[in-house]
Amino acid sequence: MSSDAPQPIQSPKAAADSLAAILGGALPDSLAAADDPAPALLHDDGVARAVAGRLRGAGSGAGHDALCGWLYGTFQSGIPALQLAVLRFVPTLAGVYMSRAVSRKPLAGFEAVILTLYAHAVAQRGAGEAETVALPNMANPSVYHEAVKPAAAAAAAAAKPAKAADPDPDVVAELSPALEPHGTMRATRRARIVGAVLELYHGKLALMPLSSKMDFCEFCVAWSGKHGNDKPRGASASARSPEGGEEKWRRVPLPWELFQPVLRIVGHCLLGPANSDELRTQAARAAQCLYLRAMETMDARAVLACRSLIRLSQMVEEPIPEPSFNAVEANMADLEAMRANILSAKN
């Protein structure tokens, strides 16, 4: 970082003040007046638009970029609420960075932030261990089903002396391979590093504001390079920015290390409890574009994953049936009289 590197940020108030100075305008009241502006930094849409706008702007992301410095310093503060506020901008950060990475533009600012997030991801995993999941073996009974062992095995078990049967071992699958510490960005590592940062983002997705998730889905569409193929929405992905004629966000290489975390996040947006039709629509569009992209490369994992996601999202929920009302069997006059009595008594 250059000589005007930012002071280390040590409190939410300091972060808010520092951001105000960088953006060069008055902060909304929610930030200026609050004792703890961290939640506002996370949720305030106005601030988010201002920051994202800067990040998308021409010339952003260079080594002396003050906003990148702010993101870096704020995350380094170690204050969890502030770290969430930084994570909120991962879609824009990763989106712009990946799109520009193929060009020769200087992006040291972006890279510094991404690498510090990556380091945190490595540390979170206890020195970068692989993320695994145990897939329960269906041969063992669970709360939901009785296990039916094949007849041959049952006969063999009966022949042995009576002993408590060992449960069949679970299959351990690797969800995300081990992370190695990296201090610098290289083209060969880029996908893995950004992928790990996206996994970090995914881990906190339940806490992220709606606009952050919308940003992400928008970038997915751009990254897939397939937004020309789906129903035209009037303009490309860049139409969301206030200025017209913005740079177009390019199609990027999407190896599995990047594709998988992307799809996991889209899955959350599509199926999760956000209760936002707008988000679901955007996420569905993103899933569709990613599916078309996967079909290009015919990577079996990617194709299957996208297809499954889309099919799950299309599972139509039948409405919960109303109880069927048979004809009322009682004397209506009687019931009306009772009704009047109850409602006037107001017991």
């Binding site: 939901y144 999760g272 799950l312 009322v328």
Partner: protein, 434 residues
Amino acid sequence: MAAMMLCTCSGDQSKFEEMPRSPESLATRDFSASASCSRTGNRETTPDDSQVNEVESDLRETLSLNYEEARALLGRLEYQRGNFDAALQVLQGIDIRSLKPRMTTAITESAKPRVSPRSSRRKTSQVNGMLVHMSMHSVSLLLEAILLKAKSLESLGRVTDAAEECRTIIDIVESAWPSGVPEGTSEECKLIDMFHSALEYLPNLWMRSGCFEEAIIAYRRALARPWNLDSQRSANLQKDLAVTLLYCGIEEKSTQEFNQQQNMEVWKSTPYDKVKSLHKLEMEAWLDLASIYTKIESWHDSNICLDKAESINSFSSKCWHVKGLILEAQSLHQEALAAFSFSLSINPDYVPSMVCMAGILRNIGGKSLPISRTFLRNAIRLEPTNHKAWLGLGLVSKSEGLPLEAADCFKAAYELRELSPIQDFSEQLPILLQ
């Protein structure tokens, strides 16, 4: 006439001759059972009191249930008209809590083959004029009332309250059918339809009120037993459970915590009496282990096992008894005596403790001998084939200088011991069979 329409379930006309016929009767009558009795005052004949009481109690039960049914019907009407406030007011007057056990019993009994084929057409099951079980019609009506109460609450924005109501339906049916819908139960049963609706509705309500943990429990309840849900609905519930587990911010839980919670939920979703049986089995196991350690004089280990048993249920005769055995084996006779006394204070008929008390008292001798004898005679009265009791009595008689009596007792003890099984499973057998 009006009253007849609603009360045809009893089938016995004579009961209703005493009822006032005015249309207001339903409306103006007080909602408590006792008041309905007061109107049946003037009788022509005066049968003996027990008969009168029988009829009165039948009438009370029949009438008060029909009263609830009337409220249920009214609640349904109000709901259909969209008057959710009024529907709620009406339906809240049904005391579901007191009716729950009868509803559960009725559902359980409905799955069993009927005694008389005719009775299925009556609205109430009656044998010899006595109310046997609530009819399935009544149960369905009341379950519908709870469901509509939940829906009314939902419409009024009280989603959490709606969920609590909805859960009642599942509690009732699950208590009746703890292993799922029994085979052969009619598919067209309206009750099952409502139950299925409730199974889907409950987690939906919890999700909307933001109680994700409750939603997960509700999804699991719906999926953990064979409730005969059709495959589409079942698949949707599975998908929703998976989605909730993955995406609702509960993912930070470590696997161990998650498994622990799963185990907890097995206990929650296991019906209470089954839980009690499992507890009892576990406690028996710990106590047996404690006895074994006592025999080999490992006091430390036997006490650990005893602690485990006590943590399950400290208010148990057998626990105190085993404690007494451990103390006695360590020659702490006074302490052992206290433990056996505790055991008998919980269950005065606990024979093993009687026998052990008697043993210690006999060793004390002197004035304690008659007390010892009394304990042993009580034990023999309760368990005439208990060889240890006979042995004890023989030893007491010998100490009291009664050799002939002693000889008889020893002979009885010897013969009974030859006949008794090596290991007595009579206590564990019911549990093992489940």
